[in-house]
Symmetry: C2
Subunit: 319 residues, 2 copies
């Protein structure tokens, strides 16, 4: 059983979580391509979290949080607010554990996301697309059902679960000089940075963000959390803002951070699809876009990139 | 060195070829998905040949043919006629071996295919989109350059190379009841059937074709080769007709053959993209479409499917 972490998890905690969630996750493949390596002038290894059963890494964190609950604590079910991959992750782990899932979702969420969540047996509760209504609706769900709320990222157990992608990558590829990941709420990047510091201290943790939602970049520069002013990016998974737990970890453990334009994101996404032959979300094209932008800085190095998910609507591709 | 095969290669021949081409090919990943298994009522394993560096299995056969040549025989280069993945395969292996490649391509071939071939340093020679002009142009190229012609499939060395995908699959997945592959010219299916008969005789070799270009289906039924009357299928890799070498092997080694409609192909392709998160060509959606159609027949079984390639034009997807 996974303990509930009150503090930043250490290396042993990350290993314990990884072992506990293994039955519920895939140790996903790592892909590379000679044309991409030639283009960047580096060895680039893509950890394909789009190959998780829910199509994204989020199952790692949701499983890590759900498995920290006692039977009693999770008997009434799990709940969260999300219109994206975290919704599917919570629905999936609830289904596996045989408890109800209640997903609070904005009423303008794409039908495809709603349907995948429903298909996993979750109950979807509509809210208005505002923070206030989302939180009020979630509180009401918790009060009425007694379900346990799993935050998408501001939770040390969720962060420890997301760290397992980097732990696997370190086993799959030797001597990485850097690992790039995107920052939305910062759960994956926090877990990645903790994993690298604990088990491969020579590997730099590189955060990446769309310029349009560069709250982590500005917050880390300022020394305090600054909210996003807009959510005007194609990288829909990265529109959220970092919170105190992810901010604290990133402040102490992130080595570098880069931001990229919308055009850079779409261009990187197309290269990933065309060369690696995978469907990757705009969100996880952000780290590759940053590597293209910074290729002189990383020349000759061995680089890991976490492809966070592949849940795209094939009817509305940007190319 | 690989011998030049005058006759149908046996199991030892296939192993020898596989070992010889290993430096030039990827042992590609096998993916599966619980939703697909639930939908079919079987365990389905997809061998992802779209993860070859050229984005398709054809590099296996081209390497196997090129490595059977003496330095003298290949000194003047390699040539073939193809507007598709075989063109890129020949260009790639010529580039690796440091000899010229001359690719005869119809003047209406998509720019994307032409450009990828040119990018590998090959020379592209235009012909009209008729069999007569294609063959005349190829003869002229051979006469002028002395380049060695590698047929896309009617060649026992090419067939032995394509067999290596099934050899790998048998190592990656235990106790398969059947392996499905598409039939265009029949090189991959011939190699697959030979590999199964030699090393896993309980595993059925299942051929699949679009109804619109069902020359193999009709030929095997008739007992002699019947040409396609039209090429009216989205599965552009399967428009070619089987020839005497592939027909002979399929006649003796194929266990079953199924044909699918264009709607079935597109529907299967979408499921592959959405669930497996890979880009797969229409051609390699054909075997999965056949499995969906025949799911009662294969219920509870362990099924391998060869995803032959992922070279699609992202600007003209059928969905």
């Amino acid at each position: 059983m996974i303990p509930y972490f009150e503090n930043v998890p250490n290396g042993e905690d990350l290993k314990l979580v990884h072992n506990a969630i293994k039955p519920y996750i895939n140790n996903t493949a790592v892909l590379s391509h000679p044309d991409i390596n030639a283009m960047i002038g580096a060895e680039v290894y893509f950890k394909c979290e789009n190959f998780q059963s829910i199509g994204a890494f989020k199952i790692r964190g949701a499983a890590a949080a759900a498995l920290a609950l006692t039977e009693e604590q999770r008997r009434n079910g799990l709940t969260t607010h999300s219109s994206g991959n975290h919704a599917q992750a919570v629905a999936k782990i609830a289904q596996i554990l045989g408890v109800p899932a209640y997903i609070v979702m904005p009423d303008n969420a794409p039908a495809i996301k709603r349907n995948s969540t429903l298909a996993m047996g979750a109950k979807v509760i509509d809210c208005k697309a505002t923070t206030a209504d989302r939180e009020a609706t979630l509180e009401k769900v918790v009060a009425e059902t007694g379900a346990y709320f799993i935050h998408p990222y501001n939770d040390y157990n969720v962060i420890a679960g997301q760290a397992s992608a980097a732990l696997e990558l370190l086993e799959q590829v030797d001597a990485l000089d850097a690992v790039f990941a995107p920052i939305g709420g910062g759960g994956l990047m926090s877990g990645t940075a903790l994993a690298l510091k604990a088990f491969s201290s020579n590997t730099k943790a590189i955060g990446t963000e769309p310029k349009e939602v560069d709250d982590a970049y500005r917050s880390l520069k300022a020394g305090y959390i600054i909210e996003n002013q807009t959510t005007n990016t194609i990288a829909d998974g990265l529109r959220t803002t970092i919170r105190e737990k992810t901010f604290g970890i990133l402040k102490d453990n992130l080595d570098e951070i880069y931001t990229v334009s919308e055009a850079e994101i779409i261009s990187a996404m197309r290269i990933i699809w065309e060369k690696l032959k995978i469907t990757a979300e705009p969100s996880c094209s952000v780290p590759f876009a940053a590597l293209i932008q910074q290729k002189e800085r990383f020349k000759g190095q061995r680089i890991g990139i976490i492809i966070t998910g592949g849940n795209v609507d094939l009817n509305s591709l940007p190319f």
